[in-house]
Symmetry: C2
Subunit: 371 residues, 2 copies
DNA sequence: CTGTTAGCGCGTTCAT
DNA sequence: ATGAACGCGCTAACAG
């Protein structure tokens, strides 16, 4: 393991001043190519690693990226974090995680955001916030702190922002059910006041109407994105007289769909034979429940990736990342798929067909189809 | 939101030197109680937040705790991280996450540990490593970097280390099955070369023998902790002639148990009616599969919590010049559930009875038992 | 008990 | 194109 070297050491070895070493470190233009090469060479050899701490102090900006998550236990958070951490791995930044539920200080989300703002430890923040908590994050944005939101309720703001197209996603789900011959398609709504709840409902309505099917409010029931919150609305829909009962249900998310499966079974109904089912999210467990869930896949890892890229594009225009870890020569990919001026990104979803909808899957997934 | 203040500002406001402010900041004993109170008061008022960056540079030790995880996508990692983040929330430390699979640099675990060691960004590292990768972490430990391992294969080392009692856990599972009247109890082993695989198998054997049941090797089959890797051994066990076929199976972990459920169903067998099933881990999805899985619960959050506490105790110790100043006042209170000298902690497991074992659950879990 | 003096490792002026 | 010098905010010796 390499000993700890400072730019002073490198400077001596290279026979230049510390300032020059600092210049190549920060990729400044005005350095003689020859000496730059020599310095880089030496840094390689001795395994020089600049002090994030010191450069942070001196430069005023740390090479740390903050990510605020609602909880480590939410299934989809893990997928987003995978994308986040993978993307950060391609940069000289490190990953700092703030979790809301788990904070010692009161659960007030404003508090933790205050903390982040006042410490200014991370150079920027990627905030995954459900519901209408965007306002807290917006405060940071207003104060000039680089922030990217991953949320459904942030449309009203001008903050850099990233999300999926919930309307299209819902339409994909309903379209598929219609294509399978269903006409009475029920919907269990997500949590009230969430924008994505509304959007998915809108997509549901749009697709029905596009097929000439009138939206029947008796087939729409209020859920809350949780398993338990899905039980009652599922009961409600499945309790309808057979001729009114939906033959298919589009649940606002996967957890809600799980509740439908269980309620259906408890009613002596089978999924998908008696009731076709499509969820939304494609969290990891949807591959494990039986029947495996057909669902609208949110590209969580992509969301995380684009979120980080967008955030990075906000940070530096001048000092492009410096010098990467010695072994990562090829890993420098252009982080600029994100347009410099597009501060809002909408990713698209994809329908993943498994067993719960009753369609014959085109591509059998390994786990799904092993028997 | 509070403006940014430095200790210099506080010093002026309090009419003392920066050194004194620094002293109260670091809870040094020799400060006049009155001035200490006054300074704290002022810090409160102006909302002073010390710069982690600067104190890290000056003191040589950052208020950052590193956690190395194999992946954000492993179910149990999320639970451990919940405990970790919750515990860190009670301290002035921040959480720095390193993920292995997702690193841009080659997947070599040694590389990322080198990186951590050479940057020395975090004050210490909590490493969740599967298998025998402990050696990489051990290098850090040898070089004096504070490290705590969460792993099954680290018994051979003297590193601070934390884990669950796999033998007892396995015995709990098997004991329960025996109590339900089962005599032919099969076992699907975990991944080869993992210590916890061996330990769980040993527990399985011990409990059988304690009940006067001979271990039958035809009832033991090799898995690998993965769902897919559980399919074949499950097939093997369930293909046995009825009179030899196990009436119950103890799977080395939950994912393997899921495979047993699916294979059983594909054989026209029902869980738990035809085959009782107990898993190990109690990952979140075990509440969602059907039948809900009876399993040996690993206290993942506790593991994370104790891991952090142990790590912090290592840090504090090294920072204490206690030999020189045998002060009478020990105002250092928290985090000392962990004995100063116990560098290895073994937590115990708990059997969570749900549907898959065929026993009538004593306590119906909400989700589990809603119908 | 408290103030003074040095740095920690690096970025960023100024000069040259 | 490069060096010298200063300072980021704080901790850690030293004195008193």
């Amino acid at each position: 393991m390499a000993r700890k070297h400072t730019i002073g050491d490198i400077a001596k070895l290279a026979g230049v001043s510390k300032a020059t070493v600092s210049r190549v470190l920060n990729n400044k233009p005005d350095v003689d190519p020859a000496t730059r090469a020599r310095i880089l060479q030496i840094m390689q050899e001795v395994g020089f690693v600049p002090s994030i701490t010191a450069s942070g102090l001196a430069g005023g900006r740390n090479r740390l990226l903050g990510v605020l998550i609602p909880s480590f236990n939410w299934f989809y958070v893990a997928d987003i974090m995978r994308g986040v951490s993978e993307t950060i791995g391609h940069t000289p930044y490190e990953l700092l995680v703030y979790s809301i539920n788990d904070m010692a200080r009161d659960n007030d989300k404003g508090d933790i955001l205050d903390h982040i703002f006042s410490t200014k430890l991370p150079a920027g923040l990627l905030a995954i916030l459900p519901g209408r908590s965007a306002q807290y994050v917006e405060r940071l944005h207003i104060h000039g702190f680089p922030v990217v939101m991953i949320d459904d309720a942030a449309h009203h703001t001008a903050m850099p922002w990233i999300n999926v197209d919930n309307v299209q996603g819902a339409r994909q789900a309903v379209k598929h059910l219609i294509a399978l011959g269903h006409r009475r398609i029920g919907h269990i709504l997500g949590k009230k006041d969430y924008l994505c709840t509304l959007e998915r409902y809108q997509g549901y309505c749009q697709e029905l109407e596009a097929s000439g099917i009138a939206v029947d409010q008796t087939l729409v029931s209020q859920g809350d994105f949780e398993y338990l919150g899905g039980v009652e609305p599922a009961r409600q829909l499945l309790s309808l007289p057979v001729e009114q009962r939906p033959t298919a249900i589009f649940a606002a998310n996967d957890l809600t769909a799980y509740a439908v499966i269980d309620v259906a079974n408890s009613f002596g109904l089978r999924v998908p034979e008696d009731i076709a089912l499509v969820g939304f999210d494609d969290i990891a467990s949807s591959l494990l429940v039986r029947p495996a869930l057909t669902t609208v896949k949110q590209p969580f890892a992509e969301i995380g990736k684009h979120g980080v890229e967008l955030l990075l594009s906000l940070l530096d225009d001048s000092a492009q990342p410096s010098f990467i870890f010695p072994s990562a020569e090829t890993s420098r990919q252009p982080l600029q798929q994100v347009e410099a001026h597009s501060v809002q990104i909408v990713l698209s979803t994809r329908l993943v067909v498994r067993s719960s909808c009753g369609a014959k899957p085109l591509h059998h997934h390994m786990k799904d189809s092993f028997p």
